[in-house]
Amino acid sequence: MPGILLAVILYVAMAIFVIGMGWRMYRWIRTPVPLKIVLTPGPQKASGVLGRLAGELFGFRALAKADRTLWTPAWLFHVSLVLLFLGHLGGLVIPHIAQASLGLNEQQFEHMAQIVGSAVGILAIAALVWLLLRRLLLPRVRWISTFSDYFALVLLLLIIATGNAMRFMGGLNIIQAQRFVAGWWTLHPVAPPRDPMFTVHLLLVCALLIYIPFSKLVHIGGAALWSPTLNQRNNPRQQRYVTTWEKTDGNSPASS
């Protein structure tokens, strides 16, 4: 595939992702929250709310209460996803800055990337397989699963599998990959690396970027952060909670 075409697909996918996510998040934030619906334990102070949200974002605390056999793969998968993202950022987008800030020489940096990247790549696959098996084997979870649930899991599996394949089969020229990313980033697209796996991997990522804003994966926009049961202070008796409801009501199509 010509480099320019691949680059254009990636520009389009990235644009759909950014605009789509922005639109979805704007709609959540814009929609009023008419009543206090905070769930126990409802912190009274803002600091308590921050603690609660941090616990959910970084520790998946509610999920831990619900089911450890779900929490474990879910948490591991999300952590490995963040690490993979940081790895791509450090290894491909800003390799020199990353290397310098870690205080490593080129060889050490590559060595570290090799070890950490391999470990996290395997961890991510394992967590995804666990989640997929859980979805297939637990009757109640299988019952609630839709096509898009499997689609998301399979897409992610393929992306990480192709990534791992490049790493373990050694077909990828990392310098070429860095050059491609730099060219893309600076709007001067160049040819992608020879390894066809790179093109497949990148196209799958484009598919994911396009898919996210239109699917349940939209939850990466910080679902818990906007959730009134979690982000409200439990102080309806201390401070009157004033709703923006009436104003919106007047503008709604049903009442016009």
Binding site: T31, L39, R140, S148, D149, H219, S227
Partner: protein
């Protein structure tokens, strides 16, 4: 508790009786389904999506992880997969996807979207009235997705096209007409309170008042009306307490009901029913508002009142106060003389009503009181109490005979947890739970009794 095998459509046949026009019209609802009900319903749906982030966000972000699936008492009791909170929400979500999302409009059923049809509406009326809005699922959801918000929205959409249960609408109509859910007129309310005064005189030899419409009293107590007619020991418990601590108090025959069934139908009725107690407090010129032993009443008053009908600046804080908060405050200050042995012979455990535990955060006060007035107090297993409490199975408008099969199955997790304690008495500060549990005890062959927390306190107070 054991996770049941799936029994698809096990509960499809259990449906509430539908309200007819004589109940719908007085509540401002269409007396019958309009011919273009589908468009009207979608229009209402659209309106709610724009008004409530809890609806649009929760329909968007669920990942169907299944963390909630085995947390709902109605699923645990029935095995009907559509009673899994995630599946219940999907009933609304699939229509949302089809009509309000890009993916659903483009990809239709591939994106799990579905048209709003008569079949779907029937499913809604079945399963959104097999949800007691107890919010146990939300406690375990990584995003705090609150199925009660979904259920409330679905019920509101249905109500807007004249699809509502007879029971809920009938109760709201009575509350508007008489001030209470049972439909007791003022004269009967006053009579019953006089009768309780006589009863108290017999029990204690003292003139303990159960005042009605007493202008200038310090406290307006709003109990669930059932406390005056069915759970009279609770009512006498309030009276003994106020007598002992010397607070002047009154009930109101205009707002003789703490419960707010508006919450189980739509926002408009929630607001209107809630208004009554504030009007009564204003007319009587009381200083403070205290709520009796009722679960969802506490949520409506504590969390919603000031927003809905405020600012409530003519009453002293904390406004409202729960009777159990007030009593615990006096016990803590050492201002009540208590004789625990009055409740000897009882083994007591405590059931957290959903709305006290999950919406109000009223977890410690009832326990403080029970420890102070009962010698043998035990807890049920940790994953069935406090914010993880199981619903009694009859909340949110389910306390009606035709839903009995669902109610009894929904009570199963709570009954199993109760059995582990060996308790003889289940203390419950909620009128709906108090009506449900005796039936459930009988159904499950449990030999135990239901009491209010204020009943036990009342008996232990040394007058």
């Amino acid at each position: 508790m054991e996770i049941p095998q799936l029994h698809p459509d096990a509960c499809l046949g259990v449906q509430a009786h539908r309200a007819k026009k004589e109940l719908l019209a007085p509540l401002g609802l269409p007396p019958e389904m309009p011919p273009d009900w589908r468009e009207k319903a979608l229009c209402k749906f659209d309106e709610l999506l724009k008004q409530r982030r809890s609806l649009s966000l929760y329909l968007d972000i669920c990942v169907r992880c299944g963390a909630c699936a085995d947390k709902c008492p109605f699923f645990l009791g029935t095995g009907d997969p559509k009673n899994m909170p995630v599946a219940r929400a999907e009933l609304l979500r699939k229509v949302y996807r089809r009509h309000f999302t890009v993916a659903g409009k483009v990809a239709g059923s591939l994106a799990a979207g579905e048209e709003l049809t008569d079949t779907v509406l029937q499913e809604w009326f079945t399963y959104f009235y097999q949800c007691s809005e107890c919010r146990r699922c939300a406690v375990f959801c990584p995003f705090g997705v609150d199925t009660a918000e979904i259920t409330m929205a679905a019920r509101e959409v249905m109500a807007s096209i004249g699809v509502a249960p007879k029971y809920v609408t009938e109760v709201i109509k009575k509350a508007h007409e008489t001030g209470n859910n049972i439909g007791i007129p003022e004269a009967a309310w006053i009579d019953s309170c006089r009768f309780l005064e006589e009863e108290l005189k017999e029990q204690t030899g003292l003139d303990i008042k159960v005042p009605v419409n007493q202008a200038g009293a310090e406290v307006l107590l709003v109990p669930p009306s059932a406390d005056v007619f069915a759970n009279t020991d609770t009512m006498m418990g309030y009276a003994r307490f106020f007598h002992a601590v010397g607070i002047s108090w009154t009930t109101s025959s205009y707002a003789s009901e703490a419960a707010n069934f508006g919450m189980f139908l739509n926002y408009d009725q929630l607001k209107k029913v809630n208004r009554r107690m504030l009007d009564a407090a204003g007319q009587l010129g009381v200083k403070r508002l205290v709520m009796g032993e009722c679960g969802h009443a506490w949520r409506a008053a504590q969390a919603f009142m000031d927003t809905l009908n405020g600012p409530v600046d003519f009453l002293e804080p904390p406004c409202p106060e729960h009777i159990l908060e007030l009593a615990a405050r006096y016990i803590r200050a050492g201002r009540l003389k208590l004789n625990k042995s009055a409740n000897d012979g009882l083994t007591v455990t405590y059931h957290d009503p959903c709305n006290l535990a999950r919406a109000g955060g009223l977890l410690e006060e009832p326990r403080e009181i029970l420890r102070a007035v009962v010698n043998d107090f035990r807890e049920m297993p940790a994953d069935t109490i406090r914010e993880k409490t199981f619903c009694c199975g009859a909340g949110a408008g389910l306390l009606t005979d035709e839903l009995m099969p669902t109610r009894m199955k929904g009570a199963k997790p709570r009954m199993e947890a109760f059995r582990t304690t060996g308790a003889t008495h289940l203390a419950v500060p909620c009128a709906i739970c108090k009506a449900q549990f005796p039936v459930a005890f009988k159904h499950y062959g449990v030999d135990a009794q239901v009491v209010g927390v204020m009943d036990l306190l009342g008996k232990a107070i040394v007058l």
